[in-house]
């Protein structure tokens, strides 16, 4: 269906190619997963399928990409609309109209399909994706998972033979992501659509896929069945690392497979170590009865939260459960209609924002909002001035967090992980004792997430109280001591990570599902053996 024939690609003004001599053959009805580190060329490879690369992005492409026998050299991407459906990371950015039903019809209008056909296909897609009750809703008012399903529906109505998805679940909470993935699996099974998808959090996708393509980052591509490709891949989901540790062969791809193999391992393990009690000593931050509301909607409903130095707290919960509002209210910059927050006798909302950031630091969800200068060096100097530090303090922090970022680079050209490190350095330069991170794992690959987990651990060891709001269960399993789950603006569970994660089917990490509720990470298993 899709074939890459000795494809190499250079972006303009770059000497080293992103892809070198890549040859791939994807058959009809296959579900293929594309993985690789950030910047390894995943988006480039996906964009080449319908000719957005190089027709839209510019650059130089050698070799031949063909879809259903049509080469991308011959026509622009719009002439591929009936063959290839493309779904991006941020569905909202790709919507042209503003109502679900019209968005589903947009592509067909461009193709010039007769009205009766459009009407029928819209109804079919609404049912296929389970969004029939949303048909008249405004797109902006939908949740992330619903938006992503609409985006998939909007390309499906054109009946493409190939579906290309670039990290469709990266902004979704676990349940919404499951919804989207289940939809995709059904499309492959029922309609025989060829699906080519890039995804960071492989653990959720691997059970469904037929094949994997891995981009190591040197321009080449490794192609094969998931167990083979995963065997030598440096970035792997926990299930594979556990499999390697236990020496299982072939590597299990799903929790079910792994559980069947795990009996001997489970028997060989001693009783898990008792988790260290969290929340010892005097809290660094106390808050009581925090209320945040936006008009009639209550985002945070009277939450009591104490943060202790030396502890990493993870805040979890579905999108819209009040995680961000709580963090912003505690930091003092966001709205807070009721309750108290005290850090060493001071309410961060009552002092100036320059003082507040010396008490509580916050890295927002879109970390790049904090950056506005042209080079990394300028940002660091500005941060030193803002915090009243001697010049160079921020740069030292940055070098400690992520060594080797050139000073003259524009912050936009950094990778997600590097940009997060820069923002974290900027915020840490004010030396707050409490550090809040809102969805820092979004868009990070496994390596960057590991680096973040290490950073968070060091900050906690130095006596910081760290809070991380995230959807990423595996990250929480490695990094957090304490887990808070929020729903509808209230805290529904709060306790040591082992208890909260292990006991919940929705939040349990893969290792807990395979071995038992008291084991969260591969590292813990390794240490106990």
């Amino acid at each position: 269906m899709i074939s890459f024939e000795r494809v190499s690609f250079w972006y303009r003004d770059r000497t080293d190619p992103v892809l070198t001599d890549v040859s791939l053959e994807i058959g009809e009805g296959e579900f293929v997963l594309l993985t690789g580190r950030t910047g390894a060329g995943k988006s480039t490879l996906l964009g080449a399928v319908n000719g957005l690369v190089p027709h839209f992005t510019g650059g130089h492409l050698e070799g031949e990409v063909t879809v259903a026998g049509v080469t991308t050299r011959s026509r622009p991407p719009r002439e591929f609309a009936h063959l290839v459906g493309v779904v991006g990371q941020d569905p909202l950015a790709g919507f042209v109209t503003d109502v679900v039903e019209e968005e589903l019809a947009y592509g067909m209008e461009q193709l010039g399909l007769p009205p009766q056909v459009m009407r029928r296909r819209v109804e079919e897609s609404l049912d296929l994706l389970g969004i029939a009750d949303l048909r008249r809703r405004a797109l902006r008012t939908l949740s992330g998972g619903q938006q992503q399903r609409v985006a998939i529906g909007a390309v499906l109505t054109m009946h493409p033979q190939v579906l290309v998805l670039d990290e469709p679940t990266s902004a979704l909470d676990p349940t919404a992501a499951e919804d989207v993935l289940a939809t995709l699996a059904r499309l492959v099974q029922d309609l025989g659509t060829t699906v080519f998808m890039a995804e960071h959090r492989m653990e959720r996708v691997i059970p469904f896929v037929d094949r994997m393509v891995y981009l190591p980052g040197d321009g080449t591509a490794v192609d094969g069945a998931p167990p083979e490709v995963l065997k030598d891949m440096p970035i792997t989901p926990p299930i594979v690392r556990l499999g390697r540790l236990a020496g299982w062969d072939p590597l299990p791809m799903s929790v079910r497979d792994a559980r069947r193999l795990a009996a001997p391992l489970r028997a060989a393990l001693p009783d898990p170590p008792q988790p260290a009690p969290v929340a010892a000593g005097k809290p660094a931050l106390t808050s009581a009865g925090v209320v945040v509301r936006y008009g009639p909607t209550v985002a945070v409903r009277g939450v009591d939260l104490d943060l202790h130095p030396g502890t990493v707290t993870a805040v979890m919960g579905r999108n819209g459960s009040g995680k961000s509002s709580l963090l912003w209210a505690v930091q003092g910059s966001g709205p807070r209609q009721g309750g108290t927050v005290t850090v060493g006798g001071v309410d961060p909302q009552k002092v100036s924002s320059a003082q507040a950031r010396r008490i509580v630091g916050l890295v927002p969800q879109t970390a790049s909002d904090l950056l506005y200068l042209e080079t990394v060096a300028d940002e660091c100097t500005a941060a030193d001035d803002e915090s009243g530090n001697p010049r160079g303090a921020c740069r030292d922090l940055l070098d400690w967090l992520a060594p080797g970022i050139p000073a003259e680079v524009h912050p936009r050209d950094l990778s997600e992980g590097q940009r997060l490190a820069l923002v974290l350095a900027v915020q840490l330069s004010a030396t707050p004792r409490i550090m809040l991170l809102d969805e820092p794992t979004r868009g990070l690959d496994y390596t960057a997430k590991e680096a973040l987990a290490r950073t968070v651990a060091v900050l906690a060891r130095e006596g910081h109280a760290v809070v991380v709001a995230t959807h990423d269960v595996e990250f929480v399993a490695t990094a957090a001591d304490r887990v808070i789950v929020m729903a509808e603006g209230e805290i529904v569970s709060d306790g040591p990570a082992v208890e909260v994660l292990g006991g919940s089917p929705a939040f349990a990490p893969q290792v807990a599902k395979i071995i038992g509720p008291r084991w969260l990470t591969v590292e813990a298993v390794e240490a106990a053996r």
């Binding site: 002439e79 950015a93 209008e109 819209v122």
Partner: protein, 369 residues
């Protein structure tokens, strides 16, 4: 057959937006012909009643209140101006304010001084008329989805319609990202010193965001087939362009000649009509090469005819009475008396309330999950 037409007629659906606009413009045109406060208030009541009866619960429908406030503001300003800049025309002085003497170069302008009932009343009537016309337009805006109106444009203008729709959805996004970035700036200790720097700190991230979004939107539109049917032979394109330009030129000359009595007559109506015809041919040609279809376009049914017709009828009755009995339409400001109301214009205005009764109610929004 007839029975079936009757049962489906009142099923809830959204009317064609143009029908509401015709209705509202009819009311506004009627309002422009009169300063009689009774008539104007009746027109207001009619517009208000129809809006309440036939609007949906969409955000633009809720903006009607804003138009009412704006109307009230216009009336207040009109009256206030008469107070401030003197309104002594007329015999009945109701208020004597101390006049502020102005230097000689400001001759002709008066500040305060005596205020007459006649001039206050004139301000009130005038303001009421303007406010009524504005509120009629507000009613159209509340009843018709502005974006659907754009969708109903002829195919030749499709690209412009898309551009406007995209631009309209950009504004809320821009506002959102300005808010987000402003909040984020607080996290870095508030705004940088100096106005320019502060602006820089907000404008740069917001623009970056907007640029990113538009690139992603463009990529998405491209891969979904936007502009797919745009391939036309150069000669055909040149021909339509030539027809359009020639036609528009003709229209311009014709309009000028019609309005200016001193130009030769053969330049007026014939050139105007000819220009219009040529432009329409160009329009049709441009529309014909667009191979695009529309999903569930708004259709023009009997209910649309009824709604538009009632607006036209209101305007027609008002124009007719203004040639028969003009005094009651513009109550005298020389001899103060309570304005009189005669039956024909009142009955005419009341025709405007028909859409509230004889059009189908709007389709209900799906209940948010």
């Amino acid at each position: 057959m007839r029975r079936r037409a009757y049962t489906t007629y009142f099923l809830p659906r959204d009317l064609h937006p143009a029908a509401w606009w015709v209705w509202a413009l009819g009311l506004a045109a009627a309002a422009s012909r009169t300063t009689n406060p009774w008539l104007l208030l009746t027109i207001l009541a009619v517009a208000w009643y129809v809006v309440i009866a036939r609007r949906s619960d969409a955000p633009w429908a809720m903006a009607f209140r804003m138009y009412l406030y704006l109307g009230g503001f216009i009336i207040a300003m009109r009256v206030l101006f008469r107070l401030v800049f003197g309104g002594a025309e007329g015999a009945t002085i109701v208020l004597r304010l101390p006049e502020i003497p102005l230097p000689e170069w400001a001759a002709g302008i008066r500040l305060f001084g005596a205020v007459s009932a006649e001039s206050l009343l004139g301000g009130l009537y005038d303001g009421l008329r303007l406010a009524t016309m504005l509120i009629c337009l507000g009613a159209a805006n509340a009843l018709a989805n502005p974006k659907r109106l754009l969708k109903a444009m002829p195919p030749a203008l499709y690209e412009i319609g898309t551009a406007v729709i995209v631009a309209l959805s950009v504004f809320p996004q821009l506002a959102e990202s300005v808010l987000r970035v402003r909040q984020a700036r607080k996290l870095r200790g508030g705004l940088a010193r100096g106005r320019f720097k502060a602006l820089h700190a907000i404008v740069i991230p917001v623009l970056e965001d907007a640029l990113d979004r538009s690139l992603r939107l463009a990529a998405s539109m491209d891969s979904r087939g936007y502009g797919r049917a745009g391939r036309v032979e150069a000669r055909a394109r040149a021909l339509t362009g030539l027809l359009m330009i020639a036609g528009l030129l003709g229209v311009c000359v014709g309009v000028y000649a019609t309005l200016d009595g001193s130009t030769p007559r053969y330049l007026a109506t014939p050139v105007l009509a000819g220009g219009l015809a040529v432009a329409l041919v160009g329009f049709r040609l441009a529309g014909r090469r667009v191979h695009r279809t529309r999903y569930r376009p708004d259709r023009w049914h009997l209910a649309e005819v009824a709604a538009a017709g009632s607006g036209v009828a209101v305007a027609a009755v008002m124009f007719a009475t203004s040639s028969v009995d003009p005094t009651n339409l513009n109550p005298s400001l020389i001899n103060l008396s309570a304005p009189l109301l005669s039956w024909p214009p009142l009955a005419g205005v009341l025709l405007g309330v028909l859409p509230a009764l004889i059009t189908p109610p709007p389709a209900a929004e799906a209940v948010p999950a």
